[in-house]
């Protein structure tokens, strides 16, 4: 399974990337299921007159997923007999490979772009602008999608990708553990500390909560709940070491110091295993966690609950969102045909069927009424946070910024430096080396 593959390493980046891959692949799947049966998508489809070959790539965690995507593509080809789509998924180093391909002018026509490097791509003109098509095509409206997602993919007024789906970050917890400890599902950070203390006193778990030292999710959600930011509004200055930031980092650091939180790498490898093996009672994940329990841990699936991210004291609700686009290469040979494929993959029916696979949430706001979300309240919880979510990614230099911020967060979590010192170092380094240079 895709999720277990992350078990040996650090969970942070890996899991998220894999998750995204998963989404992609499974989304497609769904798409198929939804589209092939009826003529729903067909009526929306722009007629593609000329015959064309489209190349497409994305990442796929395993063969099942790429097979599902292939099925969706097959159904698209059935409807558009003149179009041939060749899909070749990439297993490893997707981003590095795509960068090289784009630089060499050898990129596929349609591909996934993760929100963390979307702006790096959009700002260098390697992606094809999509609004023109969207306007011409009655089937697509910006308003159909959740605002934070569209805002995240708006680069200087234009869209260079259509969200494939997304997930917010939620608090996964073991209902039985909380009950045994007589603790409530926390809604605030003060409540979270009380719950963790209660678990620590009454239960024999490895550690009450697991975190990733280089990507403490509580820190990022706390930062945004507190009104703080990683970059200033115009994006030309790093402001992570604000009072809001320091406060948000002090909390996870203190939890680790008090033994209430531990590194996930040392407790199960990733949050899913840590919860499944009852090594821990609480972990922070996105929608990718749910199919893991459903498919691999059916008994545990019964006792795993999902709550909204607890809110820093005095702050407003906020959480992270992880998302990926379907984008087109700037020099795509048949823009209209490539667009038609993207439209098909993100259409109302396609995305609904996809979302029902449960690997990812639908990016279309109207889908909040889907029966699937009525029947699966845990997904509903994640979905309810959509409007207050902040998409993961920090402008065109996102990766360079994270390469400097993450080691400093880790440094604070490991107790090697105070939260303030770490954040100031990160801020100073990002401003000097990345944003000024």
């Amino acid at each position: 399974m895709r999720e277990t593959a992350t078990g040996n390493g650090r969970e942070g980046e890996l899991t998220r990337r894999r998750f995204v891959g998963t989404l992609a692949a499974s989304g497609l799947t769904v798409g198929l299921a939804g589209c092939s049966g009826d003529d729903g998508t067909g009526e929306e489809g722009a007629d593609v007159d000329e015959s064309a070959d489209i190349t497409m790539t994305g990442w796929a965690a395993d063969d099942t997923e790429s097979a599902l995507l292939q099925e969706l593509i097959d159904s698209y080809e059935e409807e558009n007999e003149d179009v041939e789509v060749s899909y070749s998924p990439v297993q490893d180093e997707y981003e590095q490979r795509l960068r090289t391909q784009l630089g060499a002018g050898e990129a596929p026509d349609v591909f996934y772009v993760d929100s963390s490097y979307y702006h790096a791509f959009a700002s260098t003109d390697v992606l094809h602008e999509m609004d023109t098509f969207a306007e011409e095509d009655g089937g697509f409206e910006r308003e159909d999608f959740y605002d934070p997602l569209i805002e995240a993919f708006d680069y200087e007024g234009s869209l260079y990708g259509i969200p494939k789906g997304f997930t917010t970050l939620g608090m996964f917890y073991n209902e039985e553990h909380l009950e045994e400890a007589g603790a409530e599902v926390p809604e605030s950070w003060a409540g979270l500390r009380e719950t963790l203390e209660a678990i620590d006193e009454s239960l024999d778990v490895g550690v009450p909560m697991t975190i990733i030292p280089e990507e403490p999710r509580l820190f990022f959600t706390g930062l945004f709940q507190n009104g703080g930011q990683v970059l200033s509004d115009n994006g030309d200055e790093c402001v992570i070491a604000s009072e809001e930031g320091v406060e948000a980092l002090e909390f996870p650091v203190s939890l680790v110091e008090d033994g209430l939180a531990g590194y996930v790498a040392d407790h199960g490898g990733w949050h899913g295993d840590a919860l499944a093996e009852e090594i821990t009672s609480i972990g922070h994940m996105g929608a990718w966690g749910l199919p893991f329990f459903r498919d691999n841990q059916p008994e545990m699936d019964e006792v795993i609950g999902v709550a909204e991210m607890p809110v820093i004291d005095g702050g407003d609700p906020a959480t992270m969102a992880y998302t990926v686009t379907y984008s087109m290469a700037h020099d795509v040979e048949d823009p209209a045909v490539a667009w038609d494929l993207v439209r098909y993959l993100t259409s109302d029916e396609g995305m609904a069927a996809w979302a029902e696979q449960g690997l990812e949430l639908s990016a279309r706001e109207a889908h909040a009424d889907l029966e699937f979300y009525e029947e699966n309240p845990r997904y509903r919880t994640l979905l309810d946070q959509a409007d207050e979510s902040v998409v993961w990614g920090f402008g065109p230099d996102s990766e360079a910024i994270l390469n400097r911020v993450q080691p400093q967060l880790e440094r604070a979590i490991l107790g090697e430096a105070s939260p303030r010192e770490s954040l100031e170092s990160a801020q100073e380094q990002v401003n000097r080396e990345v944003l000024d240079g």
Partner: protein, 332 residues
């Protein structure tokens, strides 16, 4: 064989005589023709080498003088700009701050990390390899099984062994199970002060097998007569090693040392898989830094410049080692 001075060789005089006797115009290949044949023989290799190695190297050298965006495949000429921004601030500024803190200048800090790694791994890889080779060169029961066992890590990919070691060194891993009773259990990979040590242990484990094979080949090339002569002269074991084995392993030694130093400065895969350069930059080696700058952040020019700086360092070590060996060379 030189024909310019001294007597003509036997073959030459023979052909001359045959020519004279038969008065036939026999033409031997001229020097140019000989050279042409030689060039033709090396041409395939030269071609492949130029296209796939020399060409890209020269291109990368050009890229290193540009601010190069890999996404666009084009750059702006900035002369030595990349080199200056990589090297400055100099390590000795601010009382060697760059070597103490990764925030000041990550290039120097990564170089320091790599140097520590090299100093910690190279001697042990070589001495370990030599020791194992000496033991397995004797008549030992199941010698071949031992050799295979020691060579096994070499056949394992770096990424696979890094994953294995990550498990072994995990806080609830098997190594800690043994260390816990004596109070030494430790979270090796998550502590900035021990993570590099973990990578080094892994490298030594892998390096010993590789060097063992090279030393074994060297040992088997030493003629037995030398040992017999030494025995007759009354040498003890140590003297035989010091005066027969060691001098005869000189070529092997040179090769092993150069390869080990190059390998140490190029360490990448195991550091990436074991700890992704962390925690807190503690396993960010030079090549890992190049990877981050060039491929993650997309600054190809900076990455290429770093790669050439690393090349200079490796070249300097290899050349120095070569000169040193020349000066030590003894003719018997």
């Amino acid at each position: 064989m030189s024909l310019q001075d001294g007597e003509p060789t036997g073959q030459e005089s023979l052909s001359v005589r045959v020519q004279e006797r038969l008065s036939l115009p026999i033409s031997l290949p001229t020097e140019d023709q000989n050279n042409l044949a030689g060039y033709l023989f090396v041409a395939p290799n030269l071609l492949v080498f130029s296209i796939f190695l020399l060409g890209p190297v020269l291109y990368a050298f050009y890229v290193s003088f540009n601010e190069w965006n890999i996404l666009l495949g084009e750059g702006t000429w900035i002369g030595l700009g990349n080199y200056v921004s990589i090297l400055q601030p100099w390590p000795w500024e601010n009382n060697w701050a760059a070597l103490r803190s990764p925030e000041v200048n990550l290039w120097w800090y990564a170089l320091r990390t790599t140097a520590i790694y090299a100093v910690g791994t190279v001697p042990l890889q070589i001495l370990g390899g030599l020791a194992v080779a000496l033991m397995l060169d004797k008549r030992v029961r199941a010698k071949k099984a031992y050799r295979a066992a020691y060579f096994m890590p070499v056949m394992l990919s770096g990424a696979a062994s890094a994953v294995i070691w990550r498990w072994l060194l995990a806080s609830d891993g098997i190594i800690n199970e043994f260390l816990a009773p004596i109070g030494l259990a430790h979270n090796w990979a998550s502590d900035p002060s021990t993570a590099l040590g973990g990578v080094m242990v892994m490298a030594i484990w892998g390096g010993i097998g590789f060097n063992m094979i090279l030393f074994l080949a060297g040992l088997q090339n030493i003629p037995n007569e030398l040992y017999e002569a030494a025995r007759i002269d009354g040498c003890n074991g140590w003297q035989r090693f010091r005066n027969v084995t060691y001098p005869n392993l000189e070529n092997t030694n040179f090769f092993v040392i150069v390869m080990a130093i190059i390998g140490a400065f190029q360490v990448f895969g195991i550091a990436l898989v074991f700890s992704e350069g962390g925690p807190y930059f503690s396993t960010t080696t030079t090549v890992l830094l190049i990877y981050q700058r060039a491929f993650q952040e997309g600054h190809m020019g900076e990455g290429a410049a770093m790669a050439f700086l690393l090349f200079l360092i490796i070249f300097a070590f290899s050349y120095w080692q070569y000169r040193y060996r020349k000066s030590e060379e003894v003719d018997y």
